[in-house]
Amino acid sequence: MAAPFDLKNDGVVVIIGSGAGGGTLGNELAQKGIDVVILEAGARHEYEDFINDEWDSFAQLAWTDKRTTSGDWRVAKDFPNLPAWIVKAVGGSTTHWAGASLRFQEHEFKTLSTYGKLEGANLLDWPITLAELEPYYAKAEDRLGVTLTNNIPGLPGNNNFKVMKAGADKLGYKECHTGRMAINSEPRDDRNACQQTGFCFQGCKWGAKWSTLYNEIPKGEATGHLEVRPNAMAFKISHDAGGKVTGVVYADKDGRLQEQKARIVAVAGNSIESPRLLLNSASSQFPDGLANSSGQVGKNYMRHTTGSVYGVFDKPVHMYRGTTMAGIIRDEARNDPSRGFVGGYELETLSLGLPFMAAFLNPGGWGRSFTTALDHYDHMAGMWIVGEDMPREENRITLHADIKDEHGMPVADVHFDDHANDTAMRNHAYKQGSALYAAVGATRTFPTPPYPSTHNLGTNRMSEKAADGVVNKHGQAHDIKNLFVSDGSQFTTGGAENPTLTIVSLAIRQADYIAEQMSAKSI
């Protein structure tokens, strides 16, 4: 049974956010017998309630509270109040993630040493190595049921994948398969097998795809040590005179202010909300916000170098049938500066339904050049580019000077400018993607601009030295021993891989560390 904990219970670990990081950490701790309260800003929708309709699902799950944007990225012009596509619901963005689950490459933990200093980039080596994370990657892959690991067969290729594979063969790419996906190719761990419904981005109504909503959280609740409190929007972390955090102030479902006391606080609200919360928790003792003696909170915002390529063919494809992202080419993920940029990128199959295609193919575009593309919607194949982008101090989350949300908390402004390396990489990927589809007979291709960010990273980064970042190699704040960051905002750099497997691995590792430190009574 789910345990309801008293607001005054100061022995609990309070986690803010129930997504990939928070939901996983919550279950891990509960399994170890540690009492946990997860405060989640969104509502709880079980997977039967998900909607096979893009806009209706967006209204059900997406974070639509106001945010602002600035910088030279096109999102700031086309979607000024929607910098990111993130979920506000129990399960967080794992409700509508696509399931691509890749390990980082060794050099991606050592970008400063590997790429060298790059003008305009705030590169830094992670304080951990691939070798240190490997055992946790293995645990995470087993937990998520990642295909092509643990003897789990790959997913069958859908039409969109078959087009990609044919093109990859023509271009001589060697590593192209249906992906390492946290989607069941056969029933496993009480989860159904994928029925190729094609609405992975809208929440899997079969529960075939891993999500903290129906995997981690119910398991944690079953221990009696985990309570998930939905519709609870945290807006301030409190601390005592000794500089230790003591609880979290939040608005409950009726908008009333409450404070949940805590022995430990872990922030996992995704990379826009987590720094927003730390900055908003400023006090006379910490005037620049909590855990911010380095000044790095909110900085180094990364979103992966993305973009899409769609191709139109003279014969039908029906790319929207089946898994949204079960197809990958990994050949370009290596670091090979001879291509004109450092780092690498993955190419993954992608499909949008007609309503989202109209909104995102070329935002603001109109006239026949635009509409003749949509006229061939059922003859289209699509892929997504996901590559390593450069951390930049200027790319950052700040509190808006004037605009506040309904609880009086300043909204987040998201500033982003592409680094020249990002642009060079994107252009290379556009060329490869277009060439791939042309090789299979595409009559027209579309280099499509990045969507609002789905991978938000880096704004509370890990560092060896306290001066360079916000948290240490366990995600523990350099400044405050009982404050942790447990989501993608702790990434020192972004890698070329979709981030969730790494977020989950770090959360499992962090749970071990927290349990150790608690029993040693050092926090």
Partner: protein
């Protein structure tokens, strides 16, 4: 109130709306006819009644919508449904009514003596639209269409998009991998 209504077959209709008479009252473009407070498509048996915007304005909006997102295989009816929200909003918000009425008046003015719908070729109309594409009026109309037009379930089959699939068991047995031409 704005309603899109299916028109009754000719023998059930009130007298006075014969095809010949409708055409006599003045066609908008070749297809749409204004009658009282309604825009009517005599060919395709539907009408759109306006309450806040002038019906002429609505008819021009429908043409404008088609010129912004031209799909020759999509009937006018769906463009009409896509822009009718402007009539609803104009009823609630005088500023919005002003934006649309003035925007259309301006569009007509820029288009010469027969107005926007008097321009026979799409290229001619698009040239006028290019002149105003940065105005709040144009952006309001275009922006509204992105969801208003493409989120109509009835138009999806025209583009070959099949929509909801869970209730049909997904595509496991319905062609997720049926591509044959590769």
């Amino acid at each position: 109130m704005v309603t899109i209504y299916e028109r009754k077959p000719a023998h059930e209709r009130k007298p006075g709306l014969s095809r010949r008479e409708l055409l006599k009252r003045g066609g908008v473009g070749a297809l749409l006819v204004i009658s009282g407070s309604a825009v009517i498509s005599p060919e395709h048996a539907w009408g759109l009644e306006t309450s806040a915007l002038k019906p002429e304005t609505m008819a021009t909006l429908i043409q404008m919508a088609r010129d912004i997102y031209p799909h020759d295989q999509v009937p006018d009816k769906y463009y009409a449904i896509a822009v009718k929200a402007h009539d609803e909003q104009a009823g609630k918000d005088p500023a919005h009514k002003d934006l649309i009425e003035k925007g259309i008046a301006e569009l007509d003015l820029k288009s010469g003596k027969d107005g926007y719908t008097g321009l026979g070729w799409e290229e001619q109309r698009v040239a006028v639209l290019r002149e105003i594409e940065d105005t709040p009026f144009f952006q309001a109309v275009r922006g509204g269409l992105v969801v208003g037009l493409y989120n109509q379930k009835e138009v999806w089959p025209i583009f070959g998009y099949e929509g909801e699939s869970y209730s049909k068991g997904g595509y496991m047995a319905r062609g997720f991998d049926d591509i044959e031409w590769l």
